[in-house]
């Protein structure tokens, strides 16, 4: 089976290094690129990696939203957001733009390899309690036409 290809995108060098060091020993994963700024992310997306690890702050850094740009370059690339004490609202917004998962940076050591493999396999990497928030957002997005009140 071809390895899961990964691009690591983060402003912070320490963060990038941590991700690379956690993924490099894995036989089924190959880090194929790194990016430190929004334009670099778009370029790296052209490598069409299976997974793009993307720092949430970086995804919001430029005027233009980054996730749609990544999708244009490589529609099949799955983005895992890396967050640091981000608000639920910000995470929800990013998930709503198409990222199938996110991971707190403090949890990288514990979960990065697993998250990469799970998302590459087509699943989502989202904590259970966040799923309820996603559903609540879904219901309220859908509700107005039907006049159904959002759940309490």
């Amino acid at each position: 089976m071809p390895p899961i290809t990964v691009v690591v995108a983060d402003h912070e060098k320490a963060s990038r290094s941590t991700c690379v060091s956690l993924l490099q020993p894995l036989k089924d994963v190959a880090v194929v690129g790194k990016a430190a700024s929004a334009p670099e992310v778009v370029l790296a997306a052209r490598l069409k990696p299976s997974i793009l690890l993307l720092d949430l702050a970086l995804s919001r850094a430029d005027r233009a939203p980054l996730l749609p740009a990544i999708r244009r370059e490589s529609p099949r690339t799955k983005v895992i957001l890396l967050t640091r004490r981000a608000s639920e609202q910000r995470i929800l917004d990013a998930l709503a733009q198409g990222a199938p998962g996110y991971l707190e940076k403090t949890a990288l050591r514990a979960f990065l390899p697993k998250a990469v493999r799970v998302v590459a396999a087509g699943e989502a990497w989202v904590p259970r309690r966040m799923i309820a928030k996603i559903v609540d957002r879904l219901v309220s997005l859908n509700a107005p036409a039907k006049g159904v009140p959002a759940p309490g």
Binding site: A96, G98, P100, I131, V135, L141, N142, K146
Partner: protein, 255 residues
């Protein structure tokens, strides 16, 4: 912390703070009610309902915290019937039970206000877990549904709205309640004779209803009707326990 758990509808926060949840299991199938009751009653007060009218009574009397609602309940009309049930007891957390769980259906179920959607034949450990999970305010679905959920959020954010019954699904709302019952029995593999016996009507009446059902749902034969039922409504086993050969589904035409 002292707070009221019974009598009057407790707020969801009160329920979240750890009162033992009242559970209602609503299914037309006695074996399903039995299995769920047995699994849960050691830990939770469990009540049963075998049809919608009883569900409505129980919701009003008990205001149960968690309601397991079998999609096969006659008259429910599948996932689209959830909002009406929810209105009777707005604080109740509804978990839908189905024989053939599908990811798209799971999303529709959640859109309709359900807090969970799962196979009705899960084991007792998972049944108890389901109560705990939804009582905490979380969602009870299979992991594989989550990517579909996220896709829906994205689609809706882009302005593509979903109807709770699925805008590109069959127009089930066009079926009368008798027609829904018949459709479900077809989905359960019953032939016309079994349907007639189950509902205590003549075979000729069954055929007439089927003609109307086929026309309304724009399906050409009972196999396609059965597939449609399986996907969108939930099938019912015929009450007459005759062995049903698969060939009864492929006898194509209503004549």
């Amino acid at each position: 912390m002292e707070h009221a758990c019974r009598g009057g509808a407790p707020s969801r926060q009160e329920a979240d703070r750890g009162c033992t949840p009242q559970v209602l299991i609503a299914s037309p199938t006695p074996a399903v009610r039995r299995r769920w009751s047995r699994a849960l009653r050691g830990q939770f007060p469990v009540h049963e309902a075998d049809r919608l009218a009883v569900v409505e009574r129980r919701l009003d009397e008990l205001h149960p915290d968690v309601v397991f609602l079998d999609l096969a309940l006659p008259g429910l009309g599948g996932v689209g019937g959830v909002p009406a049930v929810q209105r009777l007891s707005p604080m109740a957390r509804i978990v839908l039970l189905t024989g053939s769980p599908g990811e798209k259906q799971a999303v529709l179920a959640l859109l309709a206000g359900a807090r969970g959607y799962c196979d009705r034949s899960i084991g007792p450990v998972l049944m108890r877990k389901a109560v705990e999970v939804v009582q905490r305010g979380e969602i009870w679905i299979e992991r594989r549904v989550v990517p579909h959920l996220l896709q829906q959020v994205r689609a809706l954010g882009q302005g593509r709205r979903l109807e709770p019954t699925g805008s590109d699904g069959p127009p089930l709302h066009l079926l009368g309640s008798r027609e829904l019952e018949i459709a479900r029995l077809v989905g359960g593999g019953a032939n016309n004779k079994e349907i007639a016996g189950s509902l205590d009507i003549s075979e000729a009446t069954v055929k007439a209803h089927l003609t109307s059902i086929f026309r309304k749902l724009n399906v050409s034969d009972r196999l396609r009707l059965a597939l449609c039922v399986a996907e969108h409504i939930g099938a019912t086993r015929p009450m007459i326990a005759a062995a049903t050969p698969i060939s009864s589904l492929t006898r194509a035409r209503v004549q």
